[in-house]
Symmetry: C2
Subunit: 465 residues, 2 copies
Amino acid sequence: MKVDIQEMDEEEIIEEIQTLCEKREFAKLKNLLSEMNPADIASVLDEVSANQRLLMFRLLAKEEAAETFVELDSDNQESLIHAFSDSELKEVLDELYLDDAVDVIEEMPATVVKRILRNADSETRESINTLLKYPEDSAGSIMTPEFVDLKKDMSVEAAFKRIRRTGIDKETIYTCYVCDSSRKLIGVTTVKELLLHDYDDVISDFMETNIISLNTLDDQELATQLFDKYNFLALPVVDMEGRLVGIITVDDAIDVIQEENTEDIQKMNAMLPTEKTYLKTSVFETWKSRFPWLLLLMISATFTGSIITGFEDKLAAMTVLTAFIPMLMDTGGNSGGQASVTVIRAMSLGEVTFRDFFKVIWKEIRVGLVCGLSLAAANFIKIWLVDHLIMHNDDITLIVDLAICLTLVVEIVFAKFIGCTLPMIAKKVGFDPAVMSSPFITTVVDAVSLLVYFGIATALIPQLH
Amino acid sequence: MKVDIQEMDEEEIIEEIQTLCEKREFAKLKNLLSEMNPADIASVLDEVSANQRLLMFRLLAKEEAAETFVELDSDNQESLIHAFSDSELKEVLDELYLDDAVDVIEEMPATVVKRILRNADSETRESINTLLKYPEDSAGSIMTPEFVDLKKDMSVEAAFKRIRRTGIDKETIYTCYVCDSSRKLIGVTTVKELLLHDYDDVISDFMETNIISLNTLDDQELATQLFDKYNFLALPVVDMEGRLVGIITVDDAIDVIQEENTEDIQKMNAMLPTEKTYLKTSVFETWKSRFPWLLLLMISATFTGSIITGFEDKLAAMTVLTAFIPMLMDTGGNSGGQASVTVIRAMSLGEVTFRDFFKVIWKEIRVGLVCGLSLAAANFIKIWLVDHLIMHNDDITLIVDLAICLTLVVEIVFAKFIGCTLPMIAKKVGFDPAVMSSPFITTVVDAVSLLVYFGIATALIPQLH
């Protein structure tokens, strides 16, 4: 019976595989695994026992094994490495792309790293050590030093020969880089260009010389912005002297884009970033990512509370004012959050830079005014109609209504202003703008809103004088 | 003097270009533009006057012109189309990839669409009309019907001949699709594979037959998940009968990923999604995207206010309770927001599905308990130390402190519970889970928190009996 894996969902596949494993039908199992994509094999291997994992891993073809290995959870990579013989480890290492090897190593404890490096050949070891030295989140840390390099006076035929000879070990062969004798990057071409030219044509005649490249120390976010803008399959990374030292491939760029987006979303919502997927993060780890911000914001919010304490007497004299505190706090927080999130996102997409500082502020103030006035109008009518006329709440006079709505306008304009400026200033002074998240903005806006509210109320309402 | 555009920033380039334009130094201008990447030319063209834009556009080489055109703002595309002669329009259309043409058309008013379709040849017109019919955000709507198709009994040599002959008009040639006589997709191979095989080898001997493909009606989010997981350069899209009708390329996938992320972030923070970049969205458009949610949340928050009104007498009897309302509201909102945002993100990355419903709830309840207990402990000590002992606030008794901290635990567990369940339920019933955003969760949690607060306080504190 042929197993059609196209029609099965992951749980069925895992079950089928475990059955084959227990029945020791290894030929069938090997066959089934060979039909699967490495990313899918890895999902299965992450779910089975350590013994089964090792057994199945040994059934994989060499190249498939390496591709599966990089997709595994780092805990499972580690347990496999412990179970490997030195020669097995060497075999896997030889098949890994260097940037993947570095990704694996970065998650391993020191003893495992030592064993890995001991089993790599000296050239690989040196490359890995170089890559490990680049700062986290730099272009250098996500690049691979394995690329196709050509010479400018090569013919198309010679270029194809070189690609055929060296291409099997490269992560991408489709973008080829032309370097001069001092390894300086002088041109770029693609396999598509090569295919569309005659065998006798010389590369320097048609290579692209207006090259967009990154420096090893550039932030990886810049890399994602360039991929987004220019639709490349790979980007060259050069060192301070303009020498080509590596490339970033589009599949790695997608991983970085999704990671950075997840990180931004976590920070924007008052969480410390976690690297693992949600279901694989333990309760304690989740707590660790959420507790610090909650604590900080809780403490900040007690200042807001002390503002209320300062006006306790007046609130006691006119308790109706208390009923509007939640509405004012929520609306201020939401308004500020909208502005900060929009600006943070625009900055991380590269649409807004510090140069646009005043343009952004001017825009947010106008948006704040329009939002404030329209919400205040809606609120004014609602309070008068519902609370005063229908619910017969006589404490709500026109003056009270006015004080509330005036507060709304002021707090919304302020919220939009502070919501857009704090992230830009944070970025300017070298902090991550996403930390100026909406919860943080909310806390600031809350305090100011209450001050404005009590100030306006005291000024307008005769009973509070 | 050679202008080195590598060393100039965008504003300098725009200035240089405008000077050349005014001096009517078109040869120099043409030269400068030919060195630039289409995406950069488009940024410049978006900034200059309509006349200058047309003038510069006419200086571009045919292919470069088309690539620049797709990168322009849709308003500027429209104004260019109005200025084009029919033959100019035809020329640009002929150079556009079909999926790009569709993207352009989708933003145009009906009269412009008619003119575009009139100037396209009948085959193109038919393809465009087919693509326009796919639902928004479906795989069909972002695919291009232009791909390299091979036959299974072709030799590698024949395959390369075909790629050379037909490849120039394809968006990607690197992934090649093998179809049978009824256009059913039966295999996939890559130019890399082809290059590494002998000229006489036959494609069916080495093509990949375990194909991962999308259906035309699949959501585009599924496409982005597959690109993220499998590191493809292109994904095939098949119709209900399994016939290959188009491909999605990785550069389009990146655009979709960034669009979807921006949309998610906007929705998570109580905004309607906007398509334009931040600085290009007018004040009114920004207001339109922000006002509806602010209004809705403001109205919901008035219910929270009415809960306070219901306890007005008790609050007047014990005003110290009011001071902790902001802290309780903020902490509840933040806790719920953390849970909802985490689950929404995990769902859009495909890490969590409805199958994990109870697993997620169980996890969030435990996280809620740990967060709640640790925050309550911190808060208990802080209130006793700071407010009672240092600030000598005698209204704060041990019982009051206990009531506040108990409320914290209950509201945080509730917030985590509601924060993770609402997005999953929303997705299950066909809504966008991102709409169950943290501001919305905050409003729900606020109301419940206050009820819990007043309930616990009334039960515990003798003065309120």
